[in-house]
Every structure is written in C-alpha cells, then in structure tokens.
C-alpha cells in the first residue's frame, strides 16, 4: 500500500455502490488504480468512459487480481458464494476482501467457506445508500457523504484489514457503525427488506387489478412515495430477501397480524380503535422524523 491508501482496488460489480465508491476514492487520491470486473461488457464500457474504472475484465481472471490490495465485491448478494469460490485460487496473500451487501450473515458464511485462508482479511460492510437506480451510469460522487456505513467484524477479524476498509468508507464521507452480522440482519430485515416486500406486494396487487389503467391514472403523491422502492432491482432484492428469509418470514407474519387487526377494526366499524392505531403509528413516524433533523 502507498501512503495515499491503496495502489490497486479490484471492483467486482461496477454499479451504483461500487462505482460511486471508486469515484470518491479516486478523487480523494486514496487509490491509484481501479480494475473493474463485471459480466456486462456494455456496463464496463460506460464505466471506462466515465473514468469510474481504469481497466476492465468480464470475468474473474488472474491478471485482474495480480497485486490487488483490496477486492471489493459489489454484486447482488446471491452471487457472493460463487464469486468467493472463483477468487480463492487467484487471490494474492496480502489482499483484503470486502463486500457491500444488504445481508451480512450470508457474506460471512461465504467468506468463511470459500476463502478460509483469507477469512481474517475479509471485512463485511454495508453502506446505507439505497437507490432505485443501478449500473455504472448511476455511479456518482458524494453518494455516501453523511450516510451510515455498517461494519460487521467477525470472530477472527484482522484489525489491520478492518481499519483499511473503515478508512475507505470514511474517505467517502460515510459515518461508520459496528454491529454483529446477526444484529445487522435483524435490523435491516425490519427497516429495509420488509418495506421492499410490502411495496412490491402492493404494486403487484394494483398491477393485477381489472381497472389497472384507471388506478395508475389517478395514483398521486402518496402512491409515488409509498411505491418508490418497488422500482428497485428485482434480482438484487430477490437475493437479499432469500438470504434473510428467516427474519423476513417472522416479520411478514407479524405484518399479516397487523393487517388482520385492521380488518377487524373495519368489520366492527371501530372508529376509536382505528384512530388509536393510526395515532400510535404516526407518533413513531414523527419520532423518526425528529431524529433526522
């Protein structure tokens, strides 16, 4: 590593998250060279054009990985095990491996199983900078400025590797937090994955309606905001939901109990119960809002 940070960063998956981090690290002078690996050649061409990466490969090859200081995996979480398996025979001994996925127990399992030699140098991270945009064209400077980034150090973590990955995200302006992978997954199942499932479920219902065209015509600003996350990338979110399926199954069941209670209030025409229920929810939402300012 040079005094600037790292000489060679290999980015596997050149999309919104990985591409935006590469842009920030280059601008900050924290990385000398970024090698991009992606299965989509068009996406790589756009990334080269926009100088998100300096060179491009459409597969995980020895040449791409030679002398890599950090390999950052920024692909849909379901692809992580196969990518680690491909990396295993090619990784230089000193290389740090990190990811950006939304489910961290799965990431640690993949690291432990497929990269046992490098496991201490594997750092599970999750920057909270969601968007319904994706691909190298979506990469932007400053995406992580003031955003949270969660690190999930594991039982065999090498502290030097953890500090190096921390330094990258700090250079991009992120605020760092530490959680265990289990804590992380339980929290994000509730605050992110469940709302994605619900938004998809709601829009799917609207799309299945006989009067779908009329519904979409009259849908307004409430619909717009409530359904924004239903435009998220289907494959990425299928992976996330499956990786975190146990937490999500519990949460979905709880949600169905909430809806069943509302059904009952409507059936019984219980205005007071509905008002109290809405008021309790509004109080929680207002509390969250106040914590943001």
């Amino acid at each position: 590593m040079n005094k600037l940070g790292i000489n060679k960063l290999v980015l596997i998956g050149v999309g919104l998250i990985g591409g935006s981090l590469a842009l920030d690290l280059k601008r900050a002078g924290r990385v000398a060279e970024v090698v991009g690996i992606d299965i989509d050649a068009d996406n790589l061409a756009r990334a080269l054009e926009r100088k998100v990466i300096d060179s491009a490969h459409t597969g995980i090859h020895a040449a791409a990985l030679a002398a890599a200081d950090v390999v950052l995996i920024a692909t849909p979480v379901g692809t992580l095990p196969a990518i680690c398996q491909s990396l295993a025979p090619l990784l230089p001994a000193h290389t740090i491996v990190s990811d950006v996925g939304s489910t961290k127990q799965l990431a640690l399992q993949a690291f432990a199983q497929y990269l046992p030699q490098h496991y201490p140098q594997c750092v599970a991270a999750h920057p909270i900078a969601g968007s319904d945009r994706h691909g190298a064209l979506a990469a932007q400077f400053g995406l992580f400025e003031g955003k949270k980034c969660i690190l999930c150090p594991h039982e065999a973590q090498d502290s030097g590797s953890l500090n190096s990955v921390s330094a990258l995200w700090q250079a991009a302006g992120a605020d760092l937090y530490t959680l265990s992978a289990a804590e992380h997954d339980a929290i994000f199942a509730a605050v992110s994955h469940l709302p994605h499932l619900m938004a998809y479920a709601y829009v799917h219902q609207i799309g299945s309606a006989d009067q779908r065209q009329a519904l979409l015509h009259f849908a307004g600003s409430g619909f717009r905001d409530f359904t924004r996350i239903a435009a998220s990338h289907p494959a990425i979110w299928a992976d996330i939901c499956l990786a975190n399926r146990e937490s999500l199954q519990d949460l979905l069941q709880q949600q169905q109990q909430q809806l069943a209670f509302l059904q009952q209030c409507l059936q019984q025409q219980d205005a007071a119960a509905l008002r109290d229920y809405f008021q309790a929810a509004k109080a929680v939402r207002d509390e969250w809002q106040q914590g943001q300012s």
Copy 2:
C-alpha cells in the same frame, strides 16, 4: 353572485385543503368574502392572521351562513352527516354546498339524507392534493395547480351548481375529471386508502418491536418514503377508511394473499418466482412513472 365569481364563501373546516382554496380564490379575485367556521379557535385565529378568512365562527350559526353563495365543507369525512344536519335549517335557498372529502358515496348519502331540499345544489368533489400537513398554517397558494380534482355529479345534479364548483377548482389551477361516486371510491380505496393502511400497519409493527430504538436509528431513505403517509392525520384517515370500509376489506384481503404468496416463495426458497414477482411489480411502477413525465 358577482361577475368575479361568488360574493360569500363559507368554509367549514379551515385546514390545508379549504384554506389553500380560499387563498387561491381570493388572489384570483373569484370571491369577495370568506367566512371561516372551525371548532378550533386557535386555528381560526391563525387563519385570520394569515388572511385565509375574513371572519370566524366556532360553530354553525345563522349569522355565518346568511347570504352564503357557496358552503364548502372541508372537514374529516366522518363529520359530514352531522354538519349537513346542522346546516339544513340555516341554508339560504340559493346556496351551493360542496365538499372535498376522500370518499364520495358517503358524501352523497349525507347530502341526500340531511339536505334533501338542496340536494340538486350539492356537489361532491375531491381535490387530489394530499399532504401529511394539516391546519390553517399548512394552507398555501398554488396547492392545486396542475393537480387532479374529481367531481362526482349525482342523478339529481343541478348543472349550474356543478359548473360553479368546477369554476372554483379551475380558478385554483386544478385539472377536472368526472367519475361516478362508486367509481371514485373504488379507485381511491386502491391507490390511496390501502397504502395509507399499509403504511400505518408497517410503522405500527416497527413501533411495537423490542428493538424499536435501533430500528429507528438505522432506518434510511427507503423507510422515509415508504412511511411518509403514516404521518397523516389519524382522525381524518380513520373516517376515510371507515367510510370506504367495504372496498378496503376486499383490498386488504387481496393484499394478505399477496403477502402469503411471498411467504411461500421464501419458505420454498424459490428465487425465480420472487424475481418474476418483483419484476412484474417494477414494470407496473415504471409504467406509472413514465406516465407522470
């Protein structure tokens, strides 16, 4: 009526919707005098200060209604029957009555039952300009500019009254649409009332969790948009949901079937089914988005 529009507008419920319309009509020179009626004296004082209204009453009195050209009822929809009952003995013969509520079958029922003499002059309207803000302080110029406003003429509708109410909303910049009350209620149950119920249900679930504080700490932009409508006024939305309860009970049942299907995909670890489901929802959301620009 004068050539400008109407001499005296009586606004019952001086909040976001009624107050904003009054501001626009005054600025456009379409109304000479606005009388505000509201049960909240503080709210009336703020409305007088901000010149949303010219005079204020805390109840429905003969003096307030004398020579009224239009009475606009802009209160939570559950209050409409009692307000119509109070208006009945006091309304001048020529007065047009209109409302702004989110459920139109209930409005027509209240008009027909409690204002039978005036029923032809009663115009059911619904401006689509939702917000989680409320009260006279939330009133603003231009709220309805380019927004949809739906009129639901009934079987005994006087066309002059319909045209007068249409002219008011057009003066405020709204785009007018006509639907039957039943069509209106079915559409808005799906595109507005159901998402409100779901947003309340989701936030209620988060608020009931043991780790509520950690959840709210890490909730990000997806949570923010998905839950914005859970900050809506509890009493207003309890009224709306009860007034439209039959449609909503069907829709909630359909939503529970959607969630049950997702549960099954997770249980069976069916990645392809999840991806297809999310993809279908995303296509509907993208279609809506394209229709907006």
